[in-house]
């Protein structure tokens, strides 16, 4: 766990009778893009706010870059660039001046950094424009620029693609991946748009009603979300033995209902029917399932709250 840059240990947060977070423990490792998935009100923003210090957990601990106590946390937070909820900018100052303010605040001596960041997020055309004149998408870019100034080790972005147009989303995604790959910036981002996170994140935390219902890596998620073929047979054991012998590359499980589930099958459904038939096994059912991340999330949620 030493490579974790952000950890929360059983973090809870209550507002009166509302339990916004309920014992959430996440582990964000250095260099990964961690996607926090959840419905509106699931507790995503609350968790991110607790990490950046906007709120205090009612219970549990937040650990950033190994720091846990308040003084050390404040020091470690200087390595974080954050954009939580509304983009915090001065509406009557230009984009350039807003970033210059942040440069001075972060104590960055190199004045050229402002220009570089403006170019990096694609705001060169709007550098002199006042923030009040920016569109929603442009403000999101400014928010990212503010978060990025000072080359933080960690980026925390709350619903960063809200308000972006399709090409803006594409550009944003490309930028995040580039920052992660080239500068090894660890990114923790939240979204309720699952398809978007699926294309960006390498680790996923599923939040529902303030609880973390699963934390899973991309390869495991792909496995869990992959298409599968479920075959009902007259002799499951025999078919499994044949599968092992003739199709050793197949990944399968036998379900409690005594069906063979082929995960991401590499052959056509007819091929398996034929294989069973030629070995004297009767195929009584054959169903092809497509499971999206949405389906997976919905199933997880259902299972968590039953």
């Amino acid at each position: 766990m030493n490579d974790c840059v952000i950890q929360t240990h059983s973090v809870s947060k209550t507002y009166g009778k509302l339990r916004a977070l309920d014992g959430v423990s996440i582990n964000v490792r250095r260099g990964e893009i961690y996607g926090l998935i959840g419905d509106n009100g699931a507790g995503k923003s609350t968790l991110l706010k607790a990490i950046v210090g906007h709120i205090w957990p009612s219970d549990g601990e937040v650990c950033v870059l190994g720091s846990q106590n308040e003084r050390q946390l404040n020091s470690s937070r200087r390595q974080i660039g954050a954009m939580i909820e509304k983009v915090g900018c001065f509406p009557n100052l230009s984009v350039e001046k807003n970033l210059e303010y942040c440069r001075i605040l972060k104590g960055i001596p190199d004045k050229k950094k402002v220009g570089e960041i403006i170019e990096l997020v694609g705001l060169s055309q709007k550098a002199k424009a006042r923030c009040s004149q920016l569109s929603m998408g442009m403000k999101q870019r400014l928010g990212l620029a503010i978060a990025l100034i000072g080359e933080p080790q960690i980026l925390i972005l709350d619903e960063p693609i809200n308000g972006l147009d399709p090409s803006g989303i594409h550009e944003f995604r490309r930028l995040l991946k580039e920052l992660n790959a080239r500068k090894n910036i660890t990114i923790l981002l939240s979204s309720h748009i699952l398809s978007e996170l699926q294309q960006t994140a390498t680790t996923f935390g599923f939040l529902s009603k303030g609880k973390l219902i699963e934390e899973i890596g991309i390869s495991q998620l792909h496995e869990n979300c992959a298409d599968y073929l479920e075959i009902s047979l007259s002799d499951v054991e025999k078919f499994v033995a044949i599968l092992d012998k003739f199709c050793p590359d197949e990944n399968y499980i036998v379900t409690p209902e005594k069906r063979v589930r082929l995960i991401a099958p590499k052959r056509q459904a007819e091929d398996y029917s034929r294989l069973a038939a030629t070995n004297g096994i009767l195929v009584t059912g054959l169903e092809h399932h497509n499971r999206s991340l949405e389906d997976y999330y919905m199933n997880l949620k259902e299972a968590a709250h039953v």
């Binding site: 950046v52 404040n74 020091s75 954050a82 509406p91 100052l93 303010y101 942040c102 605040l105 972060k106």
Partner: protein
């Protein structure tokens, strides 16, 4: 914190509202003397077109410094809080204590600068446009200002507390007015029946500043100076502790 203070001054220097506010203060300072000069020019026998009358006008309004502080604090920080800029500062790792102290230092320097510039323009306007009368001079105003300064600083600290605690600016201003205007009156009224409240009321800035006459100014007496200093220091300590207690764990 030093970086926060530097960045705040960068913002202040580059904000239009700074210059508009300063323009309004300087304009009012000039306008009073221009008005007196015009009236004096139109009425040759009028006895008030002189520097002494102009300065006496300010000397009769010591509470102006106490009231100017919250106006300037709200101009500086109300929008900043609404726009979520404090969240950036906290997320950059500045503790709330340092943020508060930084705000206090920035607003104190800003208010002093606005006040000194305004007084400078007021003096220049008076000396340039009005007939000189040595009865009251700019030195009297400076003495009065120095005496009232602790109360003005306490008022500034309380205004910062209000701007940070109350989400809506108007609520904060109403609370400031309630504490600085309503509370002294209430204490005074209760004081007619209960002696303890009468003693408290006479140490409240708006009460002892109101009780001065047109020519006998409270800051010219030992008692007045002591009241100014003690009530200013007490306000500073009380509002400072209150700010620390209420804001060090404030969630954004």
């Amino acid at each position: 914190m030093f970086n926060y203070i530097k960045s705040e001054f960068y913002r202040i220097i580059h904000s239009r509202s700074t210059y508009i506010t300063l323009g309004v203060f300087l304009g009012l300072a000039l306008l009073i003397n221009i008005g007196l000069a015009i009236i004096a020019a139109c009425n040759p026998g009028w006895g008030y077109g002189n520097t002494a009358f102009s300065f006496q006008f300010l000397l009769q309004l010591p509470a102006i410094y106490v009231c100017a502080a919250p106006i300037l604090v709200y101009i500086l920080y109300d929008d900043v809080r609404k726009n979520g800029n404090f969240k950036n500062v906290i997320a950059f790792g500045v503790s709330r204590e340092k943020l508060l102290l930084g705000q206090f230092i920035v607003s104190l320097i800003y208010c002093l600068a606005v006040m000194l510039l305004t007084l400078g323009v007021y003096f220049a306007g008076a000396y340039a446009l009005l007939r000189y009368d040595p009865l009251y001079t700019s030195a009297d105003i400076m003495r009065q200002m120095l005496c009232v300064l602790p109360s003005a600083v306490a008022s500034l600290v309380f205004a910062l507390l209000c701007v940070n605690v109350f989400e809506r600016g108007v609520v904060g201003i109403l609370v400031w007015m309630a504490v600085y205007y309503l509370l002294p009156y209430v204490c005074q009224w209760i004081g007619y029946e209960v002696d303890f409240f009468a003693r408290i009321a006479e140490w409240m800035p708006m009460n002892f500043m109101d009780m001065q006459g047109a020519t006998d100014f409270f800051w010219q007496t030992n008692d007045g100076v002591i009241k100014c200093l003690v009530s200013g220091a007490a306000g500073f300590v009380i509002f400072g502790i209150l700010s620390w207690l209420l804001l060090r764990r404030k969630e954004l």
